[in-house]
């Protein structure tokens, strides 16, 4: 297991490959990320690196500044821990820069992000209920319909699909192919879509 990257979704476009086939790609600005903290088995019970992304200078509290001190790369807005195995951990030092060239073209990665929040949505959008007819005198349009039975069971079952908040949940998309990398700009081009809005923060790891 090697470390991952924190990135920002830039948006989608398409590029042509050598065969002239156009591939839909998501552009991610992945890095520069820095290693802020190392976690080892002796001290923490597991091996991991904490990675920082997006430098900030405003609103820094003293304990926060202390946490970033030993890495010596400034204060970062986003932090994320990535599990690594013991052997890889030894090769990584505090303050090391992780760039988009952590991945190779053709490699499969997984991307974790938060989907767009849709707010309070009805059952048609949230659970793909079919709803009723819009015409022919129908008075049943986008409702959920009956939610249960009568005296027995005398309650609504837990987990019954109803209207409510949709989106803004963590989603991981696996096995996205790395189509192209611009290491000098820290850009990763992945085939296909990833969760979240443009500008959203995503975590990129190697697929197993």
């Amino acid at each position: 297991m090697s470390a991952g990257l924190i990135g920002k979704k830039v948006g989608m476009t398409q590029i042509f490959n050598e065969d002239g086939v156009s591939i839909p790609v998501t552009v991610i600005e992945a890095g520069p990320c820095f290693i802020i903290q190392k976690k080892s088995t002796e001290k923490d019970g597991y091996c991991a690196v904490q990675v920082g992304f997006e430098q900030k200078s405003k609103n820094v509290r003293k304990p926060e500044a202390g946490h970033f001190k030993s890495a010596g790369k400034g204060i970062f807005r986003r932090l994320k821990e990535f599990r690594v195995n013991e052997k890889d951990l030894q090769g990584l030092n505090l303050g090391d820069e992780l760039k988009a060239d952590l991945f190779k073209v053709g490699e499969k990665v997984k991307v974790t992000g938060f989907t767009k929040g849709r707010g309070f949505t009805g059952v048609v959008k949230r659970w793909n209920f079919s709803g009723g007819s819009d015409a022919h005198g129908s008075k049943f349009h986008r409702k959920g319909g009956a939610v249960g039975q009568n005296v027995h069971p005398g309650k609504i079952w837990k987990g019954k699909r109803m209207a409510g908040r949709l989106g803004n949940e963590q989603v991981t998309i696996k096995n996205l192919e790395v189509v192209k990398i611009y290491p000098e700009k820290n850009l990763l081009l992945l085939k296909g879509a990833i969760p979240g809005a443009t500008g959203g923060v995503v975590y990129i790891k190697k697929s197993k």
């Binding site: 830039v10 948006g11 989608m12 476009t13 398409q14 590029i15 042509f16 050598e18 065969d19 002239g20 156009s22 552009v27 600005e29 611009y182 700009k185 850009l187 081009l189 443009t198």
Partner: protein, 120 residues
């Protein structure tokens, strides 16, 4: 609004040799077709009836329409695709709109686009 990063990536993909195409033009599109390890060029000649997806990006496509033995045939070509060998401009037409979809309801002589004489 398109991010400047995306615009930059698209710019790298863009070809500079097809800027001249306009709706109403009669063009020959030479497409490279790869069959196994063999390559050949296919030519499609017709009128450009639409330019889609905007011009300032690498996703631009053109819709070319021709009449083939009485049947209207339309093909959509990605303008910046490396598979397009070249696009030849045969003549320019006099048209008043950007999308010439009315051509689909016309046939025979009515489907002819008036040729601009002073386009060169």
């Amino acid at each position: 609004m398109v991010s400047p990063i995306i615009r930059d990536i698209e710019k790298r993909q863009m070809r500079v040799d097809h800027y001249f195409i306009k709706p109403g033009d009669k063009v020959s599109v030479h497409t490279r077709i790869i069959e196994g390890d063999k390559q050949r060029i296919q030519v499609f000649t017709g009128d450009v009836i639409a330019i889609n997806n905007g011009r300032a990006n690498s996703r631009t496509t053109i819709t070319v329409r021709k009449s083939s033995s009485g049947f209207g045939v339309e093909r959509i070509f990605p303008l910046h695709s490396p598979l397009i060998e070249k696009i030849e401009l045969i003549n320019r037409g006099i048209v008043r709109r950007a999308k010439l979809y009315y051509q689909r309801n016309r046939s025979g002589n009515a489907a002819k686009i008036k040729v601009k004489t002073d386009w060169r």
